[in-house]
């Protein structure tokens, strides 16, 4: 009995195979999943149409741009993706603001286990996590949001302002020149490209590793696509959250049915394709800097 419980649902293999047994708990709601999917697709769209400009003297850049129907086509795709991305960002901010105004209230949004705001516990968690990396301590236990997830989350905020802002400046230079000096467009050109390199480099290596490619998750963690976390995984990775909800008697309220086959398939194919595209992009960037 004990051997079967540890072996069957707990392994990455059974999860990857998409067995839908055991209990599941809600981690992301439908809107959050759709937003992540939109961000994912538009981010890759912007990366594939923007990088060829940043690395314009590479042969693959010219090939990629040709695939998008020339620089006008690539520019159009870039702007459409950017507009959708900004819309998703604005929608998220509006949603969080609404949540702050009612329901769990402002405090819940700004502090506590359900808040994305970095807190002292995150520093402690990070310290302990690194200690565990080097074999100097036990693996720390995490609540709902880990410190690296919060970093990813705020990186999007930062990136939205830097890349989105500079991108709008470069998209509508005649309009912004009405009240911004000429050098603003120089700075915008510089930071748009550099920040994009940072974002692309970060998402396609570090976010991919943290979320999907590390041995425990390999090759895909589909929780962001299904919205549901299996009980064994919650116990193992979100131990603090699991214990907190259990002791508060609120765990049962979080329980949901198994993920739909469609959401698993989306995670596997669209999510998987995104990871592959991202890794290929990183290879091209590395190749260019060699």
């Amino acid at each position: 009995m004990s051997s079967t419980t540890t072996a069957a649902p707990g392994t990455a293999a059974s999860h990857a195979a998409g067995t839908r047994t055991g209990r599941y708990y809600r981690r992301f709601d439908r809107i959050e999943r759709v937003m992540h999917a939109l961000l994912m697709v538009t981010f890759i769209g912007c990366a594939l149409t923007g990088l060829p400009l940043l690395l314009a003297d590479e042969k693959w850049s010219a090939v990629l741009v040709k695939l998008f129907g020339g620089f006008e086509g690539a520019g159009l795709v870039h702007r459409i993706c950017a507009a959708v991305m900004i819309a998703v960002f604005v929608a998220h901010v509006v949603r969080v603001s609404l949540r702050a105004l009612k329901g769990s209230g402002l405090l819940g949004v700004l502090w506590g286990p359900n808040s994305m705001v970095p807190q002292p516990q995150d520093i402690i968690d990070m310290y302990r996590h690194v200690k565990w990396f080097v074999g100097a301590g036990p693996r720390p236990q995490f609540d709902r949001w880990t410190y690296w997830e919060k970093f990813d989350y705020w990186a999007v905020f930062w990136g939205m302002f830097i890349i989105g802002g500079s991108g709008l400046l470069l998209w509508f230079p005649e309009f912004f020149a009405k009240f911004l000096p000429g050098w603003a467009f120089n700075i915008a050109t510089l930071v748009h490209g550099e920040e994009a390199l940072l974002a692309v480099g970060f998402i396609f290596t570090i976010h991919f590793f943290n979320g999907h490619l590390r041995p425990e998750k390999f090759p895909m963690d589909r929780v962001i696509f299904t919205g549901r976390i299996p009980e064994h995984e919650m116990k193992d990775e979100r131990t603090t959250e699991y214990a907190r909800l259990t002791s508060a008697g609120r765990l049962a309220a979080q329980e949901v049915g198994p993920p739909s086959r469609a959401s698993i398939a989306f995670g596997t194919y669209v999510g998987g394709a995104s990871v592959i595209l991202g890794v290929l992009t990183i290879i091209l960037i590395f190749y260019s800097f060699l």
């Binding site: 010219a62 230079p173 005649e174 050098w183 467009f185 550099e194």
Partner: protein
């Protein structure tokens, strides 16, 4: 009536004798100056003792400029005498006897000098003009006619093997010329510019062709603008007023002339995308730093990807009259900059025009804000990647160990279970 018949006979007689002369008929009675020669040489297929062709087409000779003048063969082949037939091997014809000016010129120029040095592949009179069939240049069938010179010079300068063997400068220049705007217009019967378009000799000269290293050459570095300006007078007068032209007037020949940007033989229309993109690199031969900074802007990136409908150097700086920004007449001077931007960005304003298209993030004096913004971004990227790179590597190491240990334990566990 009788008069008419007599007149008719006269005309007939004249026609017959004329035809006989024209055909080089070997009728002794006709008494032409070349009859004795034509006894042997009138058959184009005739061969001499050594098997070499000795025939010529008397009709062609008759139609040639020398035939028209009724020159005797011995006028050119002076070492042959009718007294001794068959004659000895003849010496090469020396045209200088009559064409002394051309021959003198030829002797001091590239072909003549090469020949004097023993390089007997170098062209002589006959290579360009022909031998027994020489026609006046204005004759459309002449080898030296305006429309035929490309092929005449191309016989050597367009023959890949010959070019290689003789190491002709510039390579297969006929092929380049053929596809150039000059070459195309030269054979474009619809455009109607055929006679106005230059062929080889218009730039290089005919008898006085000199290597471009020779100061006297029409294609020497110093004289190129003058040579091109013979037709492109307006472009030249504009060029002379520009910075490049002024440098040249100060005898600074490092400054570009026409062919540095337009090439010599492959000249293309200025709006041809391929040329428009390539000439950016040409500007970069001297202004390298500005190409680097240009490539960091949208204009530079898109042109680098191969799209020409975008601002290049000349769009802002002008082409023939490039002037420094400090000159109020310059397209990029404070006074004119906005207007220059507005040619593509009609809604641009003063702020827009103050964008620095050559901002250099490494140059603290020119672009201090770019410098610090660049440093900040470098620091940010380095910091994030260093921290999370290390974080990821350590995590990967730990995870791989944990997962493999877990697997080992599980494998061990199941084995013991099986044994039980």
């Amino acid at each position: 009536m009788r008069f008419t018949i007599a007149a008719g006979f006269t005309v007939l007689a004249l026609a017959v004798s004329g035809a006989a002369f024209a055909q080089g008929g070997a009728t002794k009675d006709a008494g032409g100056p070349n009859d004795a020669c034509l006894m042997c040489h009138s058959d184009p297929a005739a061969k001499g003792a050594t098997g070499k062709s000795i025939g010529l087409d008397p009709k062609k000779f008759a139609a040639s400029v020398h035939g028209e003048m009724q020159l005797p063969c011995v006028a050119c082949h002076a070492d042959v005498s009718a007294d001794k037939i068959p004659h000895e091997k003849v010496k090469p014809v020396d045209c200088s006897g009559c064409h002394d000016k051309a021959a003198k010129e030829y002797g001091t120029t590239v072909h003549g000098v090469a020949r004097a040095q023993g390089k007997d592949v170098a062209a002589t009179c006959a290579n360009c003009h022909g031998t027994h069939d020489i026609l006046r240049s204005k004759d459309p069938a002449s080898r030296t006619n305006h429309l035929n010179l490309e092929a005449t010079c191309g016989a050597c300068h367009g023959n890949e093997q010959f070019v290689k063997d003789a190491k002709l400068p510039g390579g297969n220049v006929q092929a380049k010329f053929h596809d150039s705007i000059h070459g195309r217009d030269l054979r474009d019967t619809k455009k109607g510019m055929q006679l106005a378009v230059p062929e080889c000799t218009d730039c290089h000269g005919a008898h006085d062709i000199r290597p471009k290293s020779d100061e006297k050459s029409r294609t020497s570095r110093a004289r190129i603008p003058e040579t091109c300006g013979a037709c492109h007078a307006r472009a030249k007068s504009v060029f002379d007023k520009g910075e490049h032209g002024k440098l040249r007037q100060d005898n600074n020949l490092a400054a570009p002339g026409c062919s540095d940007c337009h090439s010599a033989h492959s000249i293309q229309p200025h709006d041809l995308p391929k040329w428009k993109l390539e000439v950016i690199g040409t500007c970069g031969n001297c202004h390298g730093e500005f190409i680097t900074t240009f490539r960091e802007t949208f204009h530079g990136q898109v042109t680098s990807l191969g799209y020409a409908n975008m601002a290049t150097c000349a769009s802002c700086h002008g082409a023939h009259q490039v002037l420094p920004a400090s000159n109020p007449a310059s397209k990029v001077s404070k006074e004119n900059r906005l207007q220059t931007c507005q040619t593509c960005h009609p809604k641009a304003n003063e702020n827009f025009a103050n964008f620095d298209p050559h901002a250099n993030r490494h140059d603290k004096t020119r672009s201090p804000l770019m410098y610090y913004a660049g440093k900040f971004m470098d620091f940010l990227l380095l910091g994030v990647f260093a921290f999370f790179g290390l974080h990821t590597v350590l995590w990967a190491y730990r995870s791989v160990r944990v997962v493999s240990e877990r697997r080992k334990r599980r494998a061990g566990g199941s084995n013991t279970e099986e044994k039980r």
